[in-house]
Amino acid sequence: MVNRKLAKVSTFRYKILATVFIVLAGGLVLLPKHEKHEGIKPELLLANLISTERYISTDILADKIINNDPSFILIDVRNEESYSNFTIGDALNIPLEKFLDEVSINYLDQNQYDIIFISNDNFYAEQAWMLGSRLGFKNLHVLEGGINKWFNTIINPKKPTETMPEEQFVLYSNRKAASMFFGVAYPEQFKPAKKDKAIVKTKQPAPPKKVIKVKKKKKAPAEGGC
């Protein structure tokens, strides 16, 4: 009985399959549509936002500039006035209000260079990063602490106190060397020349004292006789 029924159904199998296809395809047309999210997914944006990988420290940036690293573009997102007063290296100026201009997008939407956003602190650079990431631009970074930190660490590094660990001294000497590269002059840069002269001067008038050994007369043993 069952087999007969099955056989009966199976004669219609192609019709059944065709109906299934039409119903499924028709379902796609009739289902209510929802607005699709454009750009990168919110989950991915959130993951990128939480991650600190986008930050580049001032030390790394200084190292890149000094070594003429060709793989990155610095983009200053402050207004033109602040940019003309001071900027780091040969940064390009794309103020936030011009971020979506066609010329700016040509610089930002590419896959060749690392882009490092800079502003006075993280604030505007982060906004630029957020906008760019939302639009799906790649290789975007933010200079951690911005130009303020650049001043405090690279241009005017703080001298470590004596009780600090050795790494701090190494870091300080690196930062000091970097600051010299960026044109900071230190008083001790000139000292060695002075010191030499001073030594020579002091040496000439006062030659080492000659020590003239004066032989002391030995006391004559007390003579006596018995």
Binding site: A18, F21, I22, L24, A25, L28, V29, L31
Partner: protein, 197 residues
């Protein structure tokens, strides 16, 4: 969630292994469905066997409807799928050459390798001819290059070119497919039955 590879759910290192596994299964199913017989494949053109047409059309339909449902339900992002670039005239002329080869030899490139694996002599001749063709094409590539790189339309789909709603496209495509199945059945009933292995 999907596609699995671009979203890193399956690491990209598995690419080749997955390709080999899918290839093995595909080849096995082709062979076990009788698609390594050039008579069965050529039947589409002579009207005595439409299995090839039905199988590939059904596969396309299942994949198309399935992917649009997965996209709708949020399991897969269709925008992330790879769309093969279109070089219009290259595709048209290549298609004609492929069609002529298919009618005259009774194989398409995939099924020819399948038939080669089970030792069919005509498949050996077909694959040998294909290799000679590849050699000639490579040697004379500079001659064919304008056609090969010309009329580039980008990574477009029919929906982009004709600017139609994809869901309506799927529906109309389904209706056309079923209509073709019905017509092909009518043709098969009218032609003389062939017996072959």
């Amino acid at each position: 969630m999907g596609p699995l590879l671009p979203n890193g759910i399956i690491p990209t290192e598995w690419d080749s292994l997955i390709a080999i596994l899918i290839g093995l299964v595909f080849g096995f199913i082709l062979e076990s469905s009788g698609f390594s017989s050039s008579r069965k494949l050529a039947g589409v053109f002579y009207g005595y066997d439409f299995a090839v047409l039905k199988v590939f059309f059904t596969a396309a339909l299942v994949a198309l409807i399935g992917m649009y449902y997965m996209d709708y339900l949020g399991y897969m992002d269709l925008a992330q799928l790879y769309v093969h670039p279109t070089y219009l005239w290259g595709a048209i002329i290549g298609g004609i050459i492929m069609g002529v080869g298919f009618v005259s030899a009774g194989f398409c490139p995939g099924t020819s390798l399948c038939a080669l694996a089970i030792g069919k002599i005509d498949a050996f001749a077909y694959v040998g001819g294909a290799l000679i063709g590849i050699f000639i094409f490579s040697e004379l590539f500079t001659l064919f290059q304008p056609l090969y790189d010309g009329t580039f339309l980008g990574n477009v789909t029919l929906m982009d070119t004709f600017d139609i709603n994809p869901y309506w496209f799927v529906f109309i495509f389904t209706l056309i497919a079923i209509l073709i199945f019905v017509i092909s059945d009518l043709i098969r009933k009218r032609t003389k039955k062939q017996v072959y292995n």
